[in-house]
Amino acid sequence: MPYNPETYREKREKVLGVRKRGISVGVLAVVVSSLILIGFGAVVIPKSIAWWNDRNLEDAIFKLKDGGPWPADVVAALGRQTGVKKTVTDKGGTRLVITFDRTVFDARNVTPLFEKNSLNAVLLNRIDHSQHMRGMQKE
């Protein structure tokens, strides 16, 4: 008696791989590897981008010799200098931190501005911006 191949279609498809049973080891390996890579990437990529953006940034920390607060108009004027990314005052406004791109701006360029405003400023420190940020976070 001739048989009807339709009877065994499902079995045939399973054998030929048309119909998959569950998830294969290969697919599982790809999924697990992808999850590991995505997790790893989520940690490493933002850090890499931050490092790339900050690689030329440096912080210069000034204080006034008399220990007084920095005038706001001077701080604002410094912020407008080419190559200066950010100006921040701390310790009750007595310390001025200038973050600048060392390839464009030199910390010594601020001296004429201080002199013009009769400010007697002292450079306390120059430090890599990323290193400074890490130090601040630890503190």
Binding site: M1, P2, Y3, T7, Y8, K11, R12, K14, V15, G22
Partner: protein
């Protein structure tokens, strides 16, 4: 016009082994078909090539020439993985020496083929108990194989072979280790299964057993010498 198809098509197969310096022709050339629902006995003396033939049909022994098609699948052109799936989907195999796992209970032995199918455990349990009920061993499901008689062990082996509802049952000397009365009981069970539509190919050297199979293929020296179709006694 489309040719009639057969569930199993053996086309010009041959098998040669290298035994030391000698080439042994286990199968010289065989051609035959088996249709759905047939009970075929393969009868021959030791060394006639009948067990080699069964292992070739079972996808376990690559023929030197020819092809074996089951449900249109040329099983030796499949990949190794596909052939393993083929065995799992299409075949139940009964061995002369039962091949039950001695440290698993009867129920666990019967559940074993379902372990790779993804069937849930409670469904496996239910199906295995139904099959054991069918072979008359539901009350011995928790026993270990060595707590059973030879005939009972063979029934467990049959239950294990049919639990995944394979279209084809291959039996290699299923009564070879049994006394004649027990053997008759096992053959009765196979006959019942065949009556329900199960395709069975049984290898035997015992002429008395072929009377249960409506068709007997006689093999000798690696050749089919007679393909005999008669009625079941």
């Amino acid at each position: 016009m489309e040719q009639d198809r057969h569930l199993i098509e053996i086309r010009g197969i041959g098998k040669t082994y290298q035994a030391g310096d000698t080439l042994v022709q286990a199968i010289r050339e065989m051609d035959f078909y088996v249709d759905e629902g047939e009970f075929v006995g393969i009868m021959g003396q030791s060394g006639s090539g009948k067990s080699t033939l069964l292992s070739i049909i079972g996808g376990l022994n690559h023929p030197t020439k020819g092809s074996v098609c089951v449900d249109t699948l040329d099983i030796y052109s499949l990949t190794t993985e596909q052939r393993a799936d083929f065995r799992s989907e299409y075949l139940g195999i009964i061995f002369q020496s039962f091949q039950l796992i001695p440290y698993l209970t009867v129920l666990e032995n019967v559940k074993l083929p379902m372990a790779v199918t993804g069937i849930k455990d409670n469904e496996q349990q239910k199906r295995a108990l139904q099959i054991l009920e069918r072979v008359g061993l539901a009350n011995k499901a928790r026993r270990l194989p060595d707590q059973l008689s030879g005939g009972e062990q063979e029934r467990v082996a049959i239950a294990r072979a049919i639990v995944n509802q394979p279209p084809i049952l291959l039996a290699d000397e299923p009564t070879g280790n049994l006394d004649s009365e027990t053997a008759e009981g096992v053959m009765g069970l196979l006959t019942t299964l065949n009556g329900e539509g199960q395709t069975i190919i049984m290898v035997t050297h015992n002429p008395g057993m072929t009377r249960f199979a409506p068709r007997t293929i006689h093999v000798r020296d690696g050749l089919v010498v007679l393909d005999e179709t008669g009625s079941r006694n």
